[in-house]
C-alpha cells in the first residue's frame, strides 16, 4: 500500500484516509517492535547458553558440582565428560556436537539474530517516521479544519 508515501502525498490525502494510514502504520510499528523484543529475548537466551558452555568447558573432568533439579533444589553430582554436548536445533531435533562446535553454533545463531535485528530495526525506524509524519499532517489538517469552521 502507500507505505512509502512522502509528506507531499500525505498533504493531498483526506482526513479519513490519513487516519487509516496512521492506524495502519502504528499497527505495523507495534508488530515490528514485538518482533524486535522477541529477537532480543532469544539473543539473551543464546548468550546464556554460550556462557554456560564456556563455563562447562573450563571445568576439569570429575569436578564436583551441584545440579539444579528445580529453581530451588540442587543435587550433588560430578562432571562426567564435557566435550560432547546436545544442541536443540528446533522442531524437536537434537544434535550431538563437540564442545567447540556447540560454541560455534551459539555464536552463529547470535550473529544471525544480530543481523536480523539490525535489518528489522531499520524497517521499524522507517515505519515509525511514516507513522509520526502521518500523525503530524493529520493534526495540522484537523487544526485547519476547526479553525475554518469556527471562523
Amino acid at each position: 500500500m502507500a507505505s512509502s508515501s512522502s509528506r507531499g502525498e500525505m498533504e493531498k490525502m483526506g482526513i479519513d484516509q490519513l487516519k487509516a494510514l496512521k492506524e495502519q502504520a502504528d499497527l505495523e510499528v507495534n508488530l515490528l517492535q514485538d518482533s524486535l523484543n522477541n529477537i532480543r529475548t532469544a539473543t539473551v537466551r543464546l548468550d546464556a547458553a554460550a556462557a554456560a558452555l564456556n563455563d562447562l568447558s573450563l571445568r576439569p573432568q570429575g569436578k564436583k558440582m551441584l545440579v539444579p533439579l528445580t529453581a530451588s533444589l540442587y543435587v550433588p553430582g560430578t562432571l562426567d565428560e564435557a566435550d560432547k554436548v546436545l544442541v536443540d536445533i528446533g522442531t524437536g531435533y537434537f544434535i550431538e556436537k563437540t564442545m567447540d562446535d556447540g560454541k560455534d553454533y551459539c555464536q552463529r545463531k547470535i550473529n544471525l539474530l544480530k543481523s536480523n535485528f539490525d535489518q528489522l530495526f531499520e524497517v521499524a525506524a522507517k515505519k515509525k517516521s511514516v507513522a509520526d509524519e502521518a500523525g503530524m499532517v493529520l493534526q495540522a489538517k484537523v487544526k485547519q479544519l476547526t479553525a475554518a469552521t469556527t471562523s
Binding site: L86, I89, Y93, F94, I95, E96
Partner: protein, 129 residues
C-alpha cells in the same frame, strides 16, 4: 410502492453486509494460519541448514514426548525436507484461497456501494416529493 422497495433494499443491504463480514473474518483466519505456517517453515529451514552442516556420522536425536530417540541423519534430513515441502504446498494453497476471498470481498463491497447509492437516490427523491 417505494416504501416496500426501500425495505427490500435495506434487507438486501443487511444480508450483503453480513456476507462481507463473514468473508473478512475468513480472511483474518487465513492470515493467522499463514503466519503460523510461515513461522514453521522458517524453523524447519533453519533445522535443515543445521543438518546439512553435519558430518555423515553425526548423532541426531529426535524428541518424541519426553524421550530423545536416536535417528539416522539421512532419515531426519528426509523428514525435514518432506515437512518443508508440505508446508510450502500448504502456504501456496492458502495464498490461492486468500486471493479468491479478496476478490469476493471486493465484489461484495461494490454491490454494497451500489445498493447504498440506490437507497440514497430513492430517499432523496422521496424527500423532494
Amino acid at each position: 410502492m417505494s416504501s416496500s422497495t426501500v425495505r427490500d433494499l435495506q434487507r438486501d443491504l443487511e444480508n450483503k453486509a453480513n456476507d462481507l463480514g463473514k468473508i473478512q473474518k475468513d480472511i483474518g483466519k487465513n492470515h493467522q494460519l499463514r503466519k503460523k505456517y510461515t513461522i514453521q517453515l522458517g524453523e524447519n529451514e533453519l533445522v535443515l541448514k543445521e543438518l546439512d552442516l553435519l558430518e555423515e556420522d553425526a548423532n541426531v536425536y529426535k524428541l518424541i514426548g519426553p524421550v530423545l530417540v536416536k535417528q539416522d541423519l539421512a532419515e531426519a534430513n528426509a523428514n525435514v525436507r518432506k515437512r518443508i515441502e508440505y508446508i510450502s504446498a500448504e502456504l501456496k494453497r492458502l495464498d490461492a484461497i486468500l486471493q479468491d476471498m479478496e476478490e469476493k470481498q471486493n465484489n461484495k463491497r461494490e454491490t454494497i456501494m451500489k445498493l447504498q447509492q440506490r437507497l440514497q437516490t430513492i430517499q432523496a427523491g422521496k424527500a423532494k416529493a
